[in-house]
Assembly symmetry: C2
Homo-oligomer: 119 residues x 2
Amino acid sequence: MKINDVSKLTGLPISTLRFYERKNLIPDRFVQRDANNYRIYSEEVVEYLSDVKTLLSVDFSIEDISLLVDQQLNLSYEEKKKIIEHKIQDIEDIQQRLNKSKKFLNDVLEGTATFQTKC
Amino acid sequence: MKINDVSKLTGLPISTLRFYERKNLIPDRFVQRDANNYRIYSEEVVEYLSDVKTLLSVDFSIEDISLLVDQQLNLSYEEKKKIIEHKIQDIEDIQQRLNKSKKFLNDVLEGTATFQTKC
DNA sequence: TCTTGCTATAAACCTAGGTTTATAGTTCAT
DNA sequence: ATGAACTATAAACCTAGGTTTATAGCAAGA
């Protein structure tokens, strides 16, 4: 498969596919080069990129993911589990902050809280 | 008060104070210039900046706030209320997305959900 | 073979919210 | 009156996650 095929099958722009590769998000087993230096992708890359999209959508950063998939690092199940648990904790921290924000803004609307200055 | 005083009283770096001003976050009534073009702040700016910090911490953007405080615009109570309600809605949307993310990651840990590829 | 279309790279650009740097004028304590 | 400390501006730099642009080399059909 060439890059345009992958783009169509995954919905990711070609520019994004090249960007992900630069960021070490796409292991070598998914992409090689032909005689003209064109990228030749394996079929499996489509499924793989679907996983990447899922992870990005659940608040993993590109760097998180490139760590998870780095073949050199070869993380154990336990290590990957730890990363996921840490990410869940991150999400819970954000949720707490958002709850406080919402409470504050609702208080402002009810007149319970107010700005000192006229905002 | 000069900028260093404001910085110390608010905890905001001098560079941030100047940056906020460039972003129209600090109305003229809070800051004038002396003969040497030095910023001279009113005492009220400290309270005002405390409000700004609060708003920033509850997910308002700098642009949101500069809209809220723009004297030219002179928003009515109803209009400001609408902006706040909209922000609460934004927060709730983020919360929903985070709940889904957390559920997914927990499912991964329990083995209920899994990545097709070995991530 | 010619033209349109696909591929490649490097580098610049984008938003957001700042921070850092370079350069220059001012003020204060000694 | 001189050197350290403070102020000013403009412009560059930073992270994240990309997108856009410029330039050039292949490809594939009429």
